[in-house]
Symmetry: C2
């Protein structure tokens, strides 16, 4: 096996009978080369299978074209779709995505950001966890753009995209009231991420303004299984809830399945359910779940346009608030 023998601009130049610089210019958009030279170069390049070395180019230009995506629970429908949207957007912008998984451990995101720095990524986009302040400072110092999505970080520096979780929660309360529900519940995981907690607090607050108490239950990791357990806990109560707001759609799916098959409840007859994320499964006939759609495409566009435009000045670093749109389906009465 010939181990890594790539063809260089030098070889192309020799074969084309021109200088190295001519080759370089041919592959640099906007450089001036005569049609004749360009033709000779392209011909030689094709024959040899030449491809510009982005490692070397990045070294020269101080711009690798790499954008680092840092994420946990990549297997999850919402995350996967967000990653897809981001990579798509990055590719059309001429960038390339580097994907780093994190786990629940503390230094995990920090390690990922260090990796991004080592590869001189043009930017890092954090979708999970929270980097330590020392690391965000490091990114800033190195002039590396840092984007936090749904992290709700209030320290200055990185660019932030957040959702109006509290406003969404308020909408749910209104909808539940209109459906005639009186026993409100909130089903959450124990993850304690900013967006999840914002939904919880917003829901409790909005309900309180209407004179209603909310029963809150938290369990496990944010997923289907936790939703089932939460249903068991909440639906066994003496005062059984007639409306539940689940922090995510996955929780809601588990909740609905348990409610129907273990408690024989009808939805929305006995119980109204609202979720969050609008993952594909929410629209499946078995669930038909009313939920909030995250503006994934817009999140992706906003993030990437930032990189392209370069960092705005420090004073313009207010977090961007995006709006979650309620998608009405049949898991809640009325409209």
């Amino acid at each position: 096996m010939s181990p890594k023998i790539f063809v260089s601009a030098q070889e192309v130049a020799e074969r084309a009978g021109v200088s190295r610089s001519a080759v370089s210019r041919t592959f640099t958009p906007g450089a001036s080369v005569s049609p004749e030279t360009r033709r000779k170069v392209m011909e030689a390049a094709d024959a040899l299978g030449y491809h510009v070395n982005h490692l070397a180019r990045g070294l020269m230009r101080n711009e690798s074209g790499i954008v680092c995506l840092i994420v946990a629970d990549l297997g999850t429908p919402f995350r996967a779709n967000l990653i897809k949207a981001l990579t798509d957007e990055l590719q059309t912008a001429g960038k390339v995505a580097m994907l780093i998984n994190t786990d629940r451990s503390d230094g995990s995101v920090d390690a990922a950001l260090r990796q991004a720095i080592r590869y001189r990524a043009d930017a890092s986009i954090v979708l999970s966890g929270m980097p330590d302040k020392s690391i965000t400072d490091l990114c800033m110092k190195n002039g590396q753009t840092l984007i936090l999505i749904n992290r709700d970080d209030n320290r200055p520096g990185p660019l932030r995209i957040n959702l109006d979780d509290r406003e969404a929660a308020r909408t749910v309360v209104t909808a539940f009231l209109r459906a005639g529900c009186r026993q409100l519940a909130f089903a959450n995981s124990e993850a304690g991420t900013p967006s999840l907690m914002a939904r919880e607090h917003g829901f409790i607050l909005a309900a309180g303004e209407q004179g209603l108490e909310v029963v809150v239950e938290r369990f496990g990791r944010t997923g289907y299984e936790a939703g089932r357990v939460l249903a068991q806990r909440l639906l066994m109560r003496r005062e059984r809830p007639d409306a539940v707001f689940c922090a995510t759609d996955l929780l809601a799916c588990g909740f609905m399945d348990a409610a129907r098959h273990q408690f024989s409840l009808s939805i929305p007859g006995d119980l109204c359910v609202v979720g969050f994320d609008d993952i594909e499964q929410a629209s499946w006939t078995s669930y038909d779940l009313t939920t909030f759609g995250q503006p994934i495409a817009e999140i992706a566009r906003k993030s990437v346009s930032w990189l392209a435009a370069g960092m705005p000045d420090d004073e313009a670093r207010e977090p961007v608030e995006l709006h979650a749109q309620l998608v009405w389906r049949r898991s809640i009465r009325g409209a």
Copy 2:
């Protein structure tokens, strides 16, 4: 905004009062540095926030540490989980994943592989589509490892990991017969990917050996919606199937929902269903789908161990056949 000012080994050397090569050696595993020098270097590096430039290192070593993952439909549960497993495995092996989305267009995978070459990726792993022969040749010529997963390519060169789809299909026929089913159907998409077609052909073949005909229907893209349409087509037939093998779980979920809610059929009473992939949703109470689990972890381990070990010699390039394990749930009678 300070635009991309990274600290170099030179600066660390100056601050530590040593030569630049001492810094280099400190960060090169297995190089010989005195404890005292190492300490001084690390101290200066920490203070300055130094990180080795992997672009430059890759340039020198002719080994970037980057592995390119080429995939379509990344938002899909199975794909997302495979990507997660692969990135996890790559990270523990000290590599980093570069993610490239492809669409359905012909040259899409080729373009992705070219991008991989430009970044001098150590290897490319193709999970979707089929690269043109000229491109696979290019990868081989450049000494870039190429791994095809479930692509069922029979041309020599790239490393291949395939599943025993035909054997799995045979198992399904047996199970259906044991459940007393006589009217067999196969629900497929129009994607026509190798694994999907292998399942279809294997199913028809195995059924034929038992003297049974199979009604085959194909529609749309491999997903939930197509499953619903396929159910409408297959369940409206005069001789209604009492057993259907769906090419993937997503198709099966759509099929089941339509069968139950539009045709009021009971599963497995009126209809037995088997899927493929064992995505998380298959285990959800609403589906409880009997399906084949793809050995995702093993696929990931095998792929990455190949890169680590380096390319085997040409003669050892037989495709690796992995086994799909049937996961018994309640969408089929008997056991």
